[in-house]
Symmetry: C2
């Protein structure tokens, strides 16, 4: 499509990072995500909304997916997320055939990204030091909220 | 807890079925779900909202989960759904440690229920003739909408 819209993975991640930072400023869990079309068009961005909306179903990836509205095909889309997608969000990626996932941090938490790769999804891990530090600090200071978000009793 | 709240699987499924029927009456995809506590308390019920709300993220199970609000643990909960849960909804069940899933129909569509069983979730399949007929008819008459809902191009 348009070469002018081309974005590097780091530029795409900046959109997800901005969502995570908005979430942190709101007192929420600092995870952000964004869904892009093949040509670099942003289809939807979102962030974890557990605290802000008391919404257990809106992880960053599902919120970005929700905000992208109804799409006919996800084959050529890219889901960019600041944190390795949990099983819920990995299941979203697999069911809807999202072609590629870019992960900002798989050190603070490792979700289903290997399962996705085994099932044909292209997975790229950036392991951005700033994102690792942000999430690591959050988990350390808010263990109960974090465990609630990943379903750990 | 209270023995008076005890519900059979068929009684629980009636709640999910009523949601699916509401969805059908709204012109939506007729899939319903309900999340119950161990003692039979209904935590949340929901239905597919793709058509009604143009919301791609609200499958029946995720809508029921959303409507159940924030829960500290899902270990003793039961997700009852009229149709075999897709990967997205199966991922939800696995991530949040929902202990049991009751499926109304795995003939019209087979999602990730076997994967869930392999990973410690108790899966019960009712294969209710009325539910199989309802979903089969919907898929036959609305193939494009159905394919959109499961991410088939």
């Amino acid at each position: 499509m348009s070469g002018e819209l081309y974005l590097t993975d780091s530029e795409k991640m900046a959109v997800a990072r901005a969502e995570a930072e908005k979430g942190a400023a709101e007192g929420g869990i600092p995870i952000g995500a964004a869904l892009f079309a093949a040509d670099g068009t942003l289809l939807g961005a979102g962030r974890n909304r557990r605290v802000q909306d008391d919404d257990a179903a809106m992880h960053a990836e599902t919120n970005a997916f929700h905000n992208a509205g109804r799409q006919r095909s996800y084959r050529d889309t890219v889901m960019v997320t600041t944190l390795s997608p949990c099983w819920y969000c990995s299941g979203l990626v697999r069911q809807f055939g999202i072609g590629r996932v870019v992960v900002g941090d798989d050190q603070s938490f490792l979700g289903g990204q290997e399962w996705l790769a085994e099932n044909g999804v292209e997975v790229t891990v950036l392991n951005d030091p700033g994102l690792i530090a942000m999430m690591g600090e959050f988990i350390h200071t808010h263990p109960r909220l974090w465990n609630e978000d990943i379903g750990e009793d």
